[in-house]
């Protein structure tokens, strides 16, 4: 369980998170939806301590990740894997080296074991014979898959996905969503997905939280969100230009 309480975060005069509360249940896929620029990625970075709130508390399985030493924070971070919006593969390393890197640094496995784990992780995401390629030789969808393989290779308890399907065509998008579902079934991790893929995300997530004006407007099952009476949620799902969500 990840718990956020009363989170405030501003960048200069711009208020991004404004007294946000959220409970992310263990072992489930939770999607955070909301209009662009509302701070979904900022919220995600708070979960893993890449950003610190101005005030509020963040607890991961009962342990606070705020005001702790680097060693303690790293111990908590070992529970996490993360797929970044732009994937963030190490561009001077091959695909194999990218996926092998966390294993080399965080486990005592020997070369053969690492090789077999890497190949197995790549196979799980549907990639074969690309181990020696560099990230800039891959398509957007392939990069996302490699990023996913790197995120799951240490079999973390929690995986954060920052807009995993942005910029991909509908078929690749569906494939990535299916991969998230499949890997979740296989490893049973807690997943937090930041997304504005409506309505696809309702088929992936078991919980959906709508972020708007720095707060969680509603948190519930996909059906509850789909049938919400809240005008902002209705506007966001329908994609209507009229409503409380203003395009500037």
């Amino acid at each position: 369980m990840i718990t956020l309480r009363n989170i405030y975060k501003s960048f200069g005069s711009q208020k991004v998170l404004d007294g946000l509360d959220l409970d992310i249940p263990r072992g489930k896929i939770t999607a955070i939806i909301g209009p662009s620029g509302e701070g979904k990625s900022v919220l995600l970075k708070h979960l893993i301590g890449l950003l610190q709130p101005d005030s509020g508390t963040v607890q991961v399985e009962g342990e606070s990740i705020l005001n702790v030493g680097r060693g303690e924070l790293n111990r908590i971070r070992e529970k996490f894997g993360m797929l970044f919006q732009n994937v963030a593969l190490f561009d001077s390393m091959t695909v194999f080296e990218n996926v092998a890197f966390p294993l080399q640094e965080k486990t005592p496995l020997d070369k053969d074991e690492i090789r077999s784990r890497v190949l197995s992780a790549l196979e799980d995401v549907g990639l074969k014979n690309i181990e020696q390629k560099y990230p800039d030789e891959l398509s957007g969808g392939m990069k996302k898959r490699v990023g996913l393989a790197r995120a799951v290779v240490l079999e973390p308890k929690i995986i954060l996905f920052d807009e995993p399907t942005t910029g991909l065509d509908p078929i690749i998008k569906r494939a990535i969503h299916q991969l998230i579902i499949d890997t979740h079934l296989k490893f049973g991790f807690t997943a937090v997905i930041v997304s504005h893929e409506i309505p696809d995300i309702f088929d992936v997530a078991q919980n959906v939280a709508m972020l708007f004006r720095g707060k969680i407007l509603q948190h519930g099952t996909p059906d509850e969100i789909r049938n919400s009476d809240d005008p902002a949620i209705r506007q966001f799902i329908s994609g209507s230009l009229d409503g409380p969500i203003q395009m500037i």
Binding site: R70, R77, E78, A88, F90, D91, E105
Partner: protein, 253 residues
């Protein structure tokens, strides 16, 4: 007006604090996790070996210019025989460490900033953090160790090539006695001169790695942010090297 002045002062003090913290943490990490030998060797190849060509080229011509200028100055006093001493002392005490450091700043310091800056804006540094790995261990400390080892070695090469550049012009072109060129040099140059040159190079290595890594680590947004960080890195490193050189010379003289 007062508000702008106050805000600027606070920003400068904050930046200085951040820069100082970066250096202190880099040293802390250097003793705790000096980085793998492979990482350090890779960085030594990049900072040291790949700078050899530009070092040899600039050292050769610097020595030749010193030979030329020194000869015409000394000839006015009938002391052409002291040319070797003049060239060697200028190079070993001053020009070798400073020019080698400035060349490495332009070639490797800028590349260090660009490399780390691009990793920052493409979230590769964040990726390291999410893997519970300290980015300093992989990106910063190997560069510090490599620069601290490479710069004195490059300086030594600069000195030797420069001395032979001066010899080429002074002895081969202008007819200075070859025996006098090296004999007077051997008499005048003492271990303290060599030590002060190496001490300077060593500290310049720290400055190059420090500012190069710092500017990249805190690069702004997008390509423009990296470009600005790279320019600032080269300018700031060069200025700090020259200012630090003055203070170090006044202590070591």
């Amino acid at each position: 007006m007062v508000r702008v002045l106050g805000r600027t002062t606070i920003t400068i003090v904050q930046d200085l604090g951040k820069t100082g913290w970066f250096l202190a943490y880099s040293f802390y990490m250097m003793f705790r996790h000096p980085g793998s030998l492979l990482h350090i060797l890779k960085q030594m190849r990049f900072i040291g070996t790949k700078s050899l060509f530009v070092i040899v080229l600039t050292a050769g011509f610097t020595g030749m210019v010193l030979g030329l200028q020194g000869y015409y100055t000394l000839a006015k006093f009938g002391s052409e025989g002291m040319l070797g001493t003049a060239v060697a002392l200028s190079l070993i005490r001053e020009l070798g460490p400073v020019l080698a450091a400035l060349m490495v700043t332009g070639r490797a310091g800028s590349a260090i900033t660009a490399e780390i800056g691009i990793m920052r804006i493409t979230e590769q540094i964040d990726a390291l953090e999410t893997m519970a790995l300290d980015p300093f261990k992989y990106l910063v400390t190997p560069k510090f160790v490599a620069a601290m080892i490479s710069l004195p070695l490059l300086c030594a090469i600069f000195d030797v090539i420069g001395i032979y550049g001066g010899w080429l012009v002074g002895v081969k072109l202008l007819g200075v006695n070859p025996g006098a060129y090296f004999y007077e040099m051997e008499k005048a140059v003492v271990w303290r001169d060599v030590f002060s040159g190496f001490a300077k190079s060593f500290s310049f290595g720290i400055i190059i790695a420090w500012i190069g890594c710092y500017k990249g680590y805190y690069a702004g947004h997008g390509a423009e942010g990296v470009s600005k960080a790279t320019t600032e890195s080269v300018v700031l490193t060069s200025v700090i090297i020259l200012v630090w050189d003055y203070f170090l010379t006044s202590v070591l003289l």
